[in-house]
C-alpha cells in the first residue's frame, strides 16, 4: 500500500514538480511575476481607461480594451472592477467583453509561461487569435445586445474617458522595459545568448555521483516528454526556497518599511536569475561552468534596473511594486505547485491512446472536445499550461490543444457566475456560446496551419468567416436600428 503510494503518486508528482521548478519557472516566471507586479503598481489605470469612455469610437475603444486586458489585469481583483466599470460606466458591453476575453490569454504571466512550457509558436497563436476573436466576440455581443447597451444606466463618465488622466511616468516605463529585456534575454533561444563565451572547470568528485543519484530519484524518459533534474536545477530549487523564506520576512510587512530581509530577497532574486543563466554541466570528475551570452545580458539588465530604480522610482512606487509582485507570487505560486504535482501524478494514469483517439488529429470533434474539457474543468491561474503540456506529451494535436487553452481560462464556473452578476443571464450564456464557437474555430485554424495548410489561405478563411459574421450581424442590427436610435 505504502509502496504503491510512493511509486504511483509521490514519485511522479515530486519528479514533475522538481523538473518544472528547475527547468521552466526560474528564468521565465520569476521576471514575469515581477513585471506583472510593476504593471499593476506603476501603470495608472486611467492612462488606458481614458480611451474607454462612453463616447469613444469603436476603432479606439476595442484595441484599448484589449490593451487594458493585457497590461492591467493579471488577477481577478483587477478584472472584476475594470470589467464592470467598462461595461457600466464606459465604452459598453462590446469592449468590456473584449477585455474579459483577452485578459486571461494575453497577460504577461500566461504568455511567458505558455511560451516556455509549450513553445513560442503556441504562445503567439494564443495571443493573436485571442486578439482577433476577442474583438470579434465583443463586436457580436455589442450588436446582439445593441438596444440594451444603448439604454444602460447613464452614470457619470468621470473615471472613464476623463480628459487629462494620469500619464505613465517615463522612468517607470523604462524600468518595465528593462525587465522585459531581461526576460527575453533569459528565454530567447538565439545562438549568441545560449552559447558560452568562456568556460570554467572545477574538480568536484561529488558531482557525478550526485547527478547519478538525482537521475535515480527522478527517473525520466525524454521520449515521454519528462524532464530530469540537474545539479543546477537543485541549486535553483534551493535558491527559490530561500527567496520564499526571505520574502516572507522582507515583503509581507513592507508597508511598515523596508528591512534587512527586503534587501536579502532582492539579492537572492538577482543571484537566482544569474545562476539560472549559466550553462552548468557535469563532466567526468567535475563540473564545467559556461559563461553564456544570457548570463552577460542578465547581468547587464540587472545593473541597469538598479540604476533606473534608484533614479526614477519613488519610495512609494518601489513599495507598491514589490508588494504587488509578492502578492501575485503568494496568490498564484502555491496553486501552481499543487497543480504541477497533480499533473505529474495524473500523467502516469492517462493512457496516450485515449487522448490520441479523442484529439489526436485536427478535427472538428477533437477541437470541440478540447473546448468542452476547458469549459467544464476549472484550474487556477496558469495551471492550464502544465495540463496542456501533459496533453501534448500524450499525443494531443496542437490544434485542439489551442482550443482547450483558449476556452479554459476564459470560461469556468467561477467566471460565469461573476459575469452573470454583472451583465445578466442571457448575455452571459450568449458570451459562453460564442467563446466555445470561437475557441474551436481558433483551434481548427491553428491546427490546419500546423498540418501545413497555406497561411495565406487560412488568413483569408478567418477573414471571410469574420466578414460573414459581421455581415449577418449588421443585418440583425439594422432590423433593430429604429428602436435603438
Amino acid at each position: 500500500m505504502l509502496n504503491g503510494l510512493v511509486e504511483y503518486v509521490i514519485r511522479p508528482g515530486v519528479g514533475n514538480l522538481a523538473a518544472y521548478l528547475a527547468a521552466h519557472v526560474l528564468l521565465c516566471l520569476l521576471p514575469a511575476f515581477v513585471i506583472a507586479g510593476a504593471m499593476t503598481a506603476l501603470i495608472p489605470k486611467s492612462s488606458i481607461t481614458r480611451f474607454l469612455g462612453r463616447s469613444t469610437p469603436g476603432r479606439v475603444s476595442y484595441p484599448a480594451a484589449a490593451l487594458a486586458g493585457s497590461v492591467l489585469a493579471v488577477c481577478s481583483c483587477t478584472i472584476v472592477p475594470l470589467f464592470a466599470g467598462i461595461y457600466r460606466k464606459g465604452a459598453g458591453i462590446g469592449p468590456a467583453v473584449t477585455f474579459l476575453f483577452f485578459a486571461p490569454a494575453a497577460n504577461i504571466l500566461a504568455l511567458v509561461y505558455t511560451g516556455s512550457v509549450i513553445g513560442a509558436d503556441l504562445a503567439f497563436a494564443r495571443f493573436a487569435l485571442s486578439l482577433a476573436f476577442g474583438i470579434g466576440i465583443g463586436l457580436i455581443m455589442a450588436t446582439i445586445f445593441h438596444a440594451d447597451d444603448a439604454a444602460h444606466d447613464r452614470r457619470t463618465d468621470s473615471a472613464f474617458g476623463a480628459h487629462g488622466g494620469e500619464r505613465l511616468n517615463r522612468g517607470a516605463l523604462a524600468f518595465m522595459m528593462a525587465w522585459v529585456a531581461l526576460l527575453l534575454a533569459g528565454t530567447l533561444k538565439l545562438g549568441w545568448l545560449t552559447g558560452s563565451h568562456a568556460q570554467l572547470s572545477f574538480a568536484a568528485g561529488w558531482a557525478e555521483p550526485l547527478q547519478a543519484g538525482l537521475d535515480r530519484l527522478v527517473p525520466h524518459d525524454a521520449a515521454r516528454g519528462e524532464e530530469g533534474v540537474t545539479i543546477q536545477g537543485v541549486a535553483l530549487i534551493v535558491l527559490l526556497c530561500a527567496i520564499g523564506a526571505c520574502a516572507w520576512l522582507g515583503l509581507e510587512r513592507i508597508h511598515e518599511g523596508f528591512n534587512r530581509w527586503t534587501r536579502v530577497t532582492g539579492a537572492l532574486v538577482a543571484a537566482t536569475l544569474l545562476v539560472a543563466a549559466l550553462d552548468l554541466r557535469t563532466t567526468p570528475g567535475g563540473l564545467s561552468m559556461g559563461i553564456t551570452g544570457k548570463f552577460l545580458a542578465v547581468l547587464a539588465a540587472l545593473g541597469l534596473l538598479r540604476q533606473l530604480g534608484r533614479r526614477y522610482l519613488s519610495e512609494d512606487e518601489v513599495r507598491d511594486w514589490l508588494w504587488e509582485s509578492w502578492r501575485f507570487v503568494k496568490q498564484i505560486f502555491p496553486l501552481l505547485v499543487v497543480g504541477v504535482f497533480i499533473v505529474g501524478v495524473v500523467r502516469g494514469l492517462v493512457r496516450p491512446e485515449w487522448v490520441q483517439a479523442v484529439a489526436g488529429h485536427n478535427t472538428i470533434g477533437g477541437n470541440l472536445a478540447g473546448v468542452v474539457f476547458g469549459v467544464f474543468m476549472y484550474f487556477p491561474t496558469l495551471v492550464e499550461v502544465p495540463i496542456a503540456r501533459m496533453f501534448l506529451d500524450l499525443g494531443m494535436h496542437r490544434g485542439p490543444l489551442l482550443a482547450y487553452l483558449m476556452s479554459d481560462p476564459e470560461l469556468s464556473l467561477q467566471s460565469i457566475l461573476m459575469i452573470t452578476a454583472i451583465m445578466g443571464r442571457a448575455k452571459t450564456w450568449a458570451y459562453v456560446g460564442w467563446v466555445a464557437v470561437f475557441s474551436a474555430a481558433a483551434g481548427l485554424t491553428y491546427g490546419a496551419w500546423i498540418d501545413g495548410a497555406n497561411p495565406v489561405t487560412l488568413a483569408a478563411g478567418v477573414a471571410l468567416f469574420l466578414a460573414i459574421l459581421a455581415g449577418a450581424l449588421r443585418m440583425i442590427s439594422r432590423s433593430h436600428a429604429p428602436a435603438a436610435t
Binding site: T49, P81, A84, H255, D316
Partner: protein, 83 residues
C-alpha cells in the same frame, strides 16, 4: 466621528487595507466607524478603477493600492479635524 469605507470584494489587499486602517485609527485615537463595501453595485457607486478603495467621509482617498500607515493616519486626522 469619521466614517471609513473599504471598497473591495474581499481579496487579500482589501483585508490588509482594512486591518491597517483600523490600526491607524486606533493608534491616532480617532473614533471611526468602519464599513466594508463588498457588492459590485456599492463599489461602482464610487469612481474607482481597481480595488481596494479607501473612502473617508465619502471621499475616495486611494484606489488600487495600499498606502503606508502614516499616510492613512494623516487622512484620518484631516477628516477628524474637518468634521
Amino acid at each position: 466621528m469619521v466614517t471609513v469605507k473599504i471598497l473591495g470584494s474581499g481579496c487579500a489587499n482589501c483585508k490588509r487595507l482594512e486591518e491597517m486602517a483600523r490600526k491607524a485609527a486606533q493608534d491616532a485615537g480617532i473614533a471611526a466607524e468602519f464599513v466594508k463595501v463588498t457588492d459590485t453595485e456599492g463599489i461602482l457607486a464610487y469612481d474607482i478603477l481597481s480595488t481596494p478603495g479607501l473612502v473617508i467621509n465619502e471621499k475616495v482617498v486611494s484606489a488600487g493600492r495600499i498606502p503606508v500607515p502614516a499616510t492613512i493616519a494623516g487622512w484620518l486626522k484631516d477628516a477628524a479635524a474637518a468634521a
